[in-house]
C-alpha cells in the first residue's frame, strides 16, 4: 500500500543481561510484535514499564540501546530498514524518521545554542539553506507556542524551562519535514498544567504538517487525546490494537479493561471530626534564617482515621510541609498540634512515643530501604525499637504484617533488590504500620509506580486505614489519586493553601483561578477532552 508509512512484521528484540555476580542471561524484550501505521496517522503505544514500548519505538530508526538485537522486518516507506547499511540508516534518521526523547533537558547539547541543534539535520541532509532552515525553525517555534520565537533559538538549553525544551525538541524533529516522528513519553516529566500546553502544541503541529507519529506513553488518558489508533503492550507482547474510540469505550482484553478502569476507585469521603488528630496552625517556614518563606501561613488539619490529600505541582511546598510536620525543618511561625498537645518543632525535642505515632512513607521505595537489610530487619526494627519485641514474638508479628500487605511469609528473607516496585512500596507500608502509628505521611507514594500497580497500593492503603484506624496525610500531584482516596483536600500553590475543605466541596465549583486551572489540566479518558480543556485553560 502506498499509504503505509510503517509496517512492522514479527519484530522480536533480544538482549543479554549481566546481573552482577551471576552468569549472563538472555532475555526477550519484545516478542513477535506486528503492526502498521498509515501516512499522516498517529499510533499510540501504551503499556507499563517493561512493556518494551521505547524499544519498539526506536526500531523505525533502526536503533537499539545497549547492544540489543532486532530480528524480524521493519518496513519504512517500502524498504526493510533492518537490512540497511549503517550509512543508509544515517540517511534515514533525522530526515525521514525523527525522535523526540523523554527527557529533553538531557537530550540537548549544553554547549550549543538551540537554533544550531534544531536546524542541524536539515542542513546536514542538504534539505534547505541556512536561511531557509532558520526561518522554518522560527515558524515552528511560533506554532509550538514558544515565547519570542524570533530570538528563542539563540538561547542555550539550560536557560529555558523543561516544557519549553520539550517543545524545542519537537521543533527539532519537525524541522527536516520527516515522514514519521517518534514521541517517547514527551510529557511524562512535566507538571500537569504545563503538560496540557505541550500536548496541545504537539497535536496542532502534527495536524498542520500531516506527519505520521508514534506516541509512546503509559498514560491512556494522554494518548487518547492525540492518537488515532492505540496499541496496548504488556511485557513485550501485543495485547490489543484498535482505534482510540474502540479501545477506550469497548476494550476487549482484560488487561486493557484494567488500564481503562484505572483510578476509578470509588470512595465515600468521611466528614471531618471536630477534634483533629493533627492541626497545623499558621505555619510558615523558610530554608535559611534570612531566606524568603517557602511556606506561608499554612493552616489545615487531619482527623483521626481519615485522609487529608495535599495536592500541588512542583514548587508548591507540599513536600516542605511534610518536612515541617516531621520535625526536619522547624517552622519560623505558627504551631503544630498533635492529639491536642503541642508538637515540638524539631526532631530532637520529640519523645520516642511521639515519633512512633507519626510515620512516613517515601516516593522512591528503592532508596527508602537499606539495600543491605532483609525485609525481616526492615519491618522488624520498628518492632524492636518501639515495643522491645524480640525472638518469636517479633517474627510472628512480622509475618502478620507481611500478610496484611498481601505478601506473605515467603518474603521475609528477601532483599529489596529482589522485589518489584509495588512489592517494595508494600514493605515500606508495613514498616510504617509496624509502629502502630496514628498518622502516616504518604509522600507521593504512588507517583513512581505504574498505574495498575499504583491502584493496588491505593486499595491496600484504604483497606489498612479502615482496619487500623490510621490517618493519612497524602501528598500527591495527581488529582485522580486524590479523588480515589481523600476525605479532605488542601490545594497548595507556591507555598500557600489556595483551597481547603471536604473533598466534595473542594472539587465542586465555584473554583479559585489556580484550582480551576489544575482541575482542567488533568487529562480525562475521552477523546476531544483536550480541545474542551484548552478553552477553559486560557480563560
Amino acid at each position: 500500500m502506498a499509504d503505509t508509512l510503517l509496517d512492522i512484521r514479527h519484530l522480536t528484540i533480544d538482549a543479554t543481561a549481566y546481573p552482577p555476580g551471576e552468569a549472563p542471561q538472555e532475555i526477550t524484550i519484545v516478542d513477535d510484535v506486528s503492526f502498521t501505521l498509515e501516512r499522516g496517522k498517529v499510533l499510540g503505544l501504551i503499556g507499563e514499564s517493561g512493556a518494551g514500548k521505547s524499544t519498539i519505538g526506536l526500531s523505525p530508526a533502526g536503533y537499539g540501546r545497549g547492544g540489543i538485537r532486532l530480528s524480524g522486518e521493519v518496513w519504512v516507506n517500502g524498504r526493510d530498514i533492518l537490512k540497511d547499511t549503517p550509512k543508509a540508516l544515517r540517511k534515514l534518521r533525522g530526515k525521514t524518521v525523527c525522535y523526540v526523547a523523554q527527557s529533553a533537558a538531557a537530550a540537548f547539547n549544553p554547549a550549543q545554542t538551540l537554533m544550531e541543534q534544531v536546524i542541524e539535520t536539515t542542513l546536514l541532509h542538504g534539505l534547505a539553506t541556512r536561511q531557509e532552515a532558520e526561518a522554518r525553525a522560527v515558524e515552528l517555534f511560533g506554532q509550538l507556542g514558544l515565547p519570542d520565537p524570533e530570538h528563542f533559538g539563540s538561547r542555550y538549553p539550560h536557560q529555558v524551562s523543561g516544557g519549553q525544551l520539550q517543545r524545542a525538541m519537537t521543533a527539532m524533529a519537525l524541522c527536516p519535514k520527516p515522514d514519521l516522528i517518534i514521541f517517547d513519553e514527551p510529557t511524562t516529566a512535566l507538571d500537569v498544567t504545563t503538560q496540557i500546553d505541550v500536548l496541545a502544541a504537539i497535536k496542532r503541529a502534527i495536524h498542520t504538517t500531516g506527519v505520521g507519529a508514534l506516541y509512546i506513553t503509559h498514560d491512556l488518558a494522554v494518548v487518547a487525546q492525540v492518537a488515532d489508533d492505540i496499541l496496548v503492550l504488556r511485557q513485550g507482547e501485543k495485547v490489543e490494537m484498535g482505534s482510540t474510540a474502540q479501545i477506550i469505550e469497548s476494550p476487549q482484553e482484560a488487561y486493557t479493561q484494567a488500564l481503562v478502569a484505572v483510578r476509578s476507585i470509588a470512595h465515600t469521603p468521611k466528614p471531618p471530626s471536630p477534634t483533629p488528630l493533627l492541626a497545623v496552625e499558621g505555619v510558615s517556614a523558610a530554608y535559611h534564617q534570612s531566606g524568603h518563606n517557602v511556606l506561608e501561613t499554612i493552616s489545615l488539619s487531619v482527623s483521626a482515621g481519615q485522609t487529608l490529600a495535599i495536592v500541588g505541582e512542583s514548587g508548591s511546598g507540599k513536600s516542605t510541609l511534610a518536612r515541617v510536620i516531621t520535625g526536619l525543618l522547624p517552622p519560623n511561625r505558627g504551631q503544630l498540634l498533635f492529639a491536642e498537645t503541642p508538637l515540638p518543632h524539631t526532631l530532637a525535642e520529640r519523645s520516642k512515643e511521639t515519633l512512633r505515632e507519626l510515620q512516613m512513607i517515601y516516593q522512591m521505595a528503592d532508596v527508602a530501604m537499606n539495600p543491605r537489610h532483609t525485609v525481616e530487619t526492615i519491618i522488624g526494627r520498628p518492632l524492636t525499637f518501639y515495643f522491645g519485641l524480640k525472638g518469636k514474638a517479633r517474627r510472628e508479628r512480622i509475618i502478620e504484617l507481611l500478610d496484611a500487605i498481601e505478601l506473605g511469609e515467603a518474603f521475609i528473607d528477601r532483599y529489596p533488590a529482589e522485589l518489584s516496585g509495588g512489592q517494595k512500596q508494600r514493605v515500606c507500608i508495613a514498616r510504617a504500620l509496624a509502629a502502630k502509628p496514628k498518622l502516616i505521611i504518604c509522600d507521593e507514594v504512588t507517583s513512581a509506580l505504574d498505574p495498575l500497580v499504583a491502584d493496588g497500593i491505593l486499595k491496600l492503603l484504604l483497606r489498612l486505614q479502615a482496619q487500623e484506624n490510621v490517618a493519612y496525610l497524602f501528598i500527591t500531584h495527581d488529582l485522580a489519586t486524590v479523588k480515589a482516596i481523600a476525605d479532605s483536600i488542601a490545594v497548595m500553590h507556591q507555598g500557600q493553601v489556595v483551597r481547603y475543605g471536604k473533598r466534595d466541596t473542594v472539587l465542586s465549583p465555584p473554583f479559585d483561578a489556580y484550582t480551576q486551572k489544575l482541575l482542567a489540566s488533568v487529562p480525562q479518558m475521552k477523546q476531544g477532552w483536550l480541545e474542551e480543556a484548552l478553552t477553559t485553560h486560557h480563560d
Partner: protein
C-alpha cells in the same frame, strides 16, 4: 566574559593564594617546630653544646616562632629564598639554573605525554571493550603499578648500557645545543612520560567515555550524524573541560615524579637539589624548595579549576 565568571575566577585565585599561605605555615611548622631539638638532631648526638648553641643562634631558634616565620615569609616575598646551611650559598642563585633544567624536562615530557594520553583515550573509547581498549587498559594497569626507578633503571640498562643509544647519566650544562640537551634528557623524559601517561590515559578515557555516554550523544546519533561529526561537534566541546582538568591534575603529579627521576639520572634539576639537601638536613633549602614545589602544585590545580569554570556553558551564559 561576564562579571559572574570573573567573580568566580577572582574567588578561585584568592583561595589559591590563601592556600599557599597556609601551606607556607605548614612547611615552616614542619621544619622548625617539631618536637626534639632541631639543632641537636641536625648536628647529631656527638655535637658539643657550643656548636649546638651556635647553630641555634644561626637558625634564629632563639627568636619566637612567629617572628621567625614572618622573617622567612617576608624574605620570600622579596625574592630572597634564604641561604643554604651546608654551603652558605644563596638558594635563589643555586636554584636559578636548576629550575630551568627541571622545567625543560617537564615541558618535553608534557609535550609528548599529553597528546598521546588524549589520543589513546579516544582510541580506547572508540573501540570500547574490544581488543584495542583491553590492551590499552591492561598496559596502563601494569604501568601505574611500576615504580619510577624500575622503569628508569630498565631503560638505562637496555638503552644506555646494552644498546648505548643514550647516556646513563643525564648531565646538561650551559652551552649545549637544543639537540644535545634533548639527547641527554631522552631517557628521563621517557621514564616520566611512561609514568604519567598511564595515569593520564585512564582518566582521559573515563572523562571521554562519560561524555560519550551522555543522552545528547544518543540524540545526535538518532539525528543521523556520522561518528566524526558527533565527536567534533557534540562530544568535543563538552569534553574539553573534563579532559583539561585531567591533564592539569596529572601535570601536578608530574612534579612529584620529577624528583625521583632526577635522582635516578643524576640530572641537575630542582628535585636533585632538594634530595641532596634533605639528607644534609639543610633546613632553609628544604623550606624554600618545598614551598616552590607546593606553589607550582597549587597553581596547576587552580588553573584546572579556572579552566573548568571558563569552559562551562552554564556559567558563560547564565539564565
Amino acid at each position: 566574559m561576564n562579571t559572574f565568571v570573573i567573580k568566580l575566577i577572582a574567588q578561585r585565585l584568592a583561595l589559591g593564594l590563601l592556600l599557599l599561605l597556609a601551606v607556607s605555615v605548614l612547611i615552616f611548622v614542619g621544619t622548625q617546630l617539631l618536637p626534639g631539638d632541631v639543632a641537636q638532631s641536625i648536628l647529631g648526638q656527638s655535637a658539643t653544646p657550643e656548636a649546638v648553641d651556635n647553630l641555634r643562634r644561626e637558625l634564629g631558634l632563639d627568636q619566637p616562632a612567629w617572628l621567625r616565620y614572618l622573617d622567612w615569609l617576608g624574605g620570600i616575598l622579596q625574592g630572597d629564598l634564604g641561604t643554604a646551611l651546608s654551603n652558605r650559598q644563596d638558594i635563589g642563585e643555586s636554584l636559578w639554573g636548576r629550575a630551568g633544567n627541571t622545567l625543560f624536562l617537564a615541558f618535553w615530557t608534557a609535550v609528548v605525554a599529553v597528546p598521546l594520553a588524549i589520543l589513546l583515550g579516544l582510541v580506547a573509547v572508540r573501540y570500547q571493550n574490544r581488543w584495542p581498549d583491553r590492551v590499552i587498559s591492561g598496559t596502563t594497569l601494569t604501568a601505574i603499578s611500576l615504580p619510577e626507578f624500575f622503569i628508569g633503571y630498565l631503560l638505562i640498562y637496555l638503552f644506555a648500557v646494552k644498546f648505548n643509544w643514550f647516556p646513563s647519566v643525564s648531565t646538561v650544562y650551559s652551552g649545549m645545543s637544543l639537540g644535545e640537551r634533548l639527547h641527554a634528557i631522552a631517557l628521563p623524559a621517557a621514564t616520566l612520560t611512561l609514568v604519567i601517561l598511564a595515569h593520564m590515559m585512564r582518566m582521559t578515557r573515563a572523562a571521554i567515555l562519560s561524555v560519550m555516554q551522555s543522552p545528547y550523544i544518543e540524540t545526535a546519533e538518532l539525528k543521523g550524524l556520522g561518528l566524526f561529526r558527533i565527536i567534533a561537534r557534540h562530544a568535543f566541546p563538552n569534553a574539553i573541560a573534563p579532559v583539561v582538568n585531567v591533564v592539569m591534575l596529572n601535570l601536578a603529579f608530574l612534579i612529584v615524579g620529577v624528583v625521583v627521576v632526577e635522582v635516578i639520572f643524576v640530572y641537575p634539576g630542582m628535585g636533585q637539589y632538594l634530595i641532596d639537601h634533605v639528607s644534609k638536613r639543610d633546613v632553609p633549602v628544604v623550606q624554600a624548595v618545598g614551598l616552590l614545589f607546593a606553589a607550582v602544585y597549587i597553581g596547576l590545580n587552580m588553573l584546572a579549576d579556572i579552566i573548568a569554570i571558563v569552559t562551562n556553558p552554564r556559567l558563560r551564559h547564565p539564565k
